[in-house]
Amino acid sequence: MEMPKPNQMVLSAKARIVARLRDVLPADSVIEDEAETRAYECDALTAYRCPPLAAVLPRTTEEVAAVLRICHEEGVPVVPRGSGTSLAGGALPTADAVILGVARMNAVLETDYDNRFVHVQTGRTNLSVTGAVEADGFFYAPDPSSQLACAIAGNIAMNSGGAHCLKYGVTTNNLLGVTMVLMDGRVVQVGGPFMDAAGLDLLGVICGSEGQLGVVTEAWLRILPKPEGARPVLMGFDSNEVAGACVADIIKAGVLPVAIEFMDRPCIEATEAFAKAGYPMCEALLIIEVEGSPAEIDEQLGVIKSIALRHNPVELREAADEDQAKRIWLGRKSAFGAMGQINDYMCLDGTIPVSSLPYVLRRIGEMSRDFGLDVANVFHAGDGNMHPLILFDANKPGDLEKCEAFGAEILKLCVEVGGCLTGEHGVGIEKRDLMTVQFAPDDLEAQLRVKDVFDPKWLLNPAKVFPLHVTASRRAA
């Protein structure tokens, strides 16, 4: 993965830059020692590493503003970082960059149940936002699978989703406002504890901008009352086509499950070997969860089961109690871990129109044979977000490159059928060079102009999202 050459002027000015940062931050907030900066050399995309020039861990919006003002004056690239769980390399530094980590900014500033929002600093982890309100019967809806570790800052940067977004939407649908520091150190508030921010929807374009428009330090998040209960049903089918048709029929019937998860045979086999959840051995498995009171759940599951029966399932299993519900989810939740036991794997994140599912799975199967690499599919079937897991051997020379080439072909296929490169992980460096597959030059130019407005010197996370050749003149200016 190509990264820009570090700016020699910045590298040679390290001592002065660090000294200036120390002037505005407490001693423990500036990390410049080579051994310690290694902790910030990568995120969850561990194949690519580079220690930063320095890392700073401010505690307040004012400290963030002071850091950015200095970096702006010195021409130092800044890579914002939440918890470093990006699978796309969103927080990968360059040698001339300062990592700006918000991990120490994790306070809950205000909880307001009457107006149904929570105001937090963005270093707070996703799960601990819900943790702050669940005793009072509320929750924060977006639930990326890294939610124990990932920070709200990163969720906003990547517009994170989760398993339940069919009903509750993704981050952007649950974000009311932000406090953000621009690269020149100015602090803006966009939106707030009310619906629909004034003026142009800057909040909408900030969310999902991968830390390229500003550093979001505080957020007003919508919280929702917890449903009375939830229950999953598991069904197995002897073909992907039939499972896909069943999903479409359920959606057409007017039921709105909170989650529809899909696993194919290679995935079922791997998770069974690892988690022993007792899944049926079949071609395609669906886990569908609905919410409400016990009677409402019965009614919705009644509709879903009657539709499933029309598609001759090889298995139809309802959870009679909490324990059985957990067993139904066990395999799905262990799927990534199971794959990790067998092999190294790369997790993709393309989205496709739900109707293309059988075709896409067939093509992935064919490509798998061509590349000689196994692939297992886990899929948010309700919203078309696929997570093919390509298995490879990191110790075998050439395997990672082959895996990346295979992954790129799968993502091109997603675009070809009318979908997109990434549904919830973000572009980062991982899919940067595929952007021209999905977007024409004019489409990209419109996006670049947004960054021109927010960050005219192109210092914020500059080597991400867009192909380097597309941004070269702007980064050099």
């Binding site: 707030g192 969310c207 959606i251 078309g384 997109c420 549904g423 977007f439 407005v453």
Partner: protein, 367 residues
């Protein structure tokens, strides 16, 4: 091209018209909900019609921007589906005629009472194609509901009132039309009591899809879903709201169209304002407003107010958490809440880069 304005029939014709434009343009869909001053030549989008793609099994719709709303709603209803955000019809309250188009709906981010549950128009909008002030066609988003590929210009275009470009195609995620619905009514509550009751309902797990207060008429809550579920939730809410008053349960949801369309303020002399606020602030703001009439939607988060002609409501209220839009009125008060400081600069910068010749707004000159 015919009639009063330019009316391109294809996206490439639209791009050509814009490239050749030499001065301010007023973009017009159905002409039913625009609130910004008109200037220059009229550019109509009603020639860009047709459903490009409708997949009921994927809850996905792609239409050209000039397609009439009524046609789209009928197409969706035939499959038991709808646009989730409950598009308001402002013709009566704004004194307009014509057929609303989907492009206009998006440009206005027009969202009704279901905003509290299903989100605004921008939350259901998953893709756009538009033509910039340079006559360049840009696409963003697409036809899938989970998409974080590149910047989200889809949201940026929603509610931009045509200031960044002319929409040529819009894509939505849809929802099924519920089997049935019911309306719960509390009588005799003040604004403050009403917002407290609405907050209690919205903070319950009973999935309220409408929460409004019409002074003198009642405080209303809507629930929708399968029949048994609606009956169950109506009963639970009735108990839950007992501390706030006696709850009557009305069958059906017929009265919500009037709330959606701001009908209580229609046909009356005066200026019409719409304020997005923190719900619990609404009673205090209303008390300071001096409105001739008002009502609350979105659990108190949306205030509709009828003001004496020419009132500068923003000046009267001073700073508050939220913003005020003048939907209809005379005089120099700007329709959109003015931005200040760095936000105003960011907005001006975006307008300059998407519309460098100032075709789509007067604001560019001021910036």
């Amino acid at each position: 091209m015919k009639g009063q304005g330019m009316r391109p029939a294809t996206e490439s014709e639209l791009a050509e018209v814009i490239r050749e434009a030499r001065g301010r343009l007023t973009i017009r869909g159905g002409g039913t909900r625009a609130i910004l001053p008109e200037a220059g030549a009229v550019l109509e989008t009603m020639g860009l019609t047709g459903v490009e793609l409708y997949e009921p099994g994927a809850l996905t719709l792609v239409v050209r921007a000039g397609t009439p709303l009524a046609q789209v709603e009928a197409t969706l209803a035939a499959e038991g589906q709808r646009l989730p955000f409950e598009v308001p019809d402002f013709r009566a309250v704004l004194g307009r005629a014509g057929d609303s188009t989907l492009g206009g709906v998006v440009a206005a981010n027009a969202s009704g009472p279901r905003r509290v549950q299903a989100g605004a128009c921008r939350d259901s909008l998953i893709g756009v194609r538009f033509v910039t002030g340079e006559g360049t066609v840009v696409k963003n988003g697409g036809r899938v509901m989970k998409n974080v590929t590149g910047y989200d210009l889809v949201k940026l275009m929603a509610g931009s009132w045509g200031q960044l470009g002319v929409l040529s195609e819009v894509s939505f995620k849809l929802l099924p039309i519920p089997e049935t619905g019911a309306t719960l009514v509390l009588r005799g509550l003040s604004d403050g009591q009403a917002v407290a009751a609405l907050s209690a309902a919205l903070g319950s797990p009973y999935e309220v899809s409408g929460a409004a207060h019409l002074p003198g008429q009642g405080t209303f809550l809507r629930i929708e879903g399968f029949a048994n579920s609606v009956a169950y939730r109506a009963e639970q809410l009735r108990k839950h709201l007992a501390p706030h008053g006696t709850v009557e349960v009305e069958e059906g949801t017929a009265r919500w169209a009037a709330i959606r369309d701001a009908a209580p303020l229609a046909g009356r002399a005066g200026d019409v304002w719409r304020l997005s606020v923190k719900p619990s602030d609404a009673p205090g703001l209303v008390a300071r407003m001096g409105a001739e009439a008002h009502f609350l939607d979105w659990g108190g988060g949306l205030i509709w107010a009828l003001m004496a002609p020419g009132t500068d409501l923003r000046a009267r209220l001073g700073a508050f958490a939220g913003h005020a839009t003048r939907m209809k009125g005379e005089g120099a008060v700007p329709a959109l809440h003015p931005q200040t400081g760095a936000l105003a600069e960011l907005e001006a910068g975006l307008r300059r880069r998407f519309d460098p010749r100032g075709l789509f707004s007067d604001a560019l000159v001021a910036a």
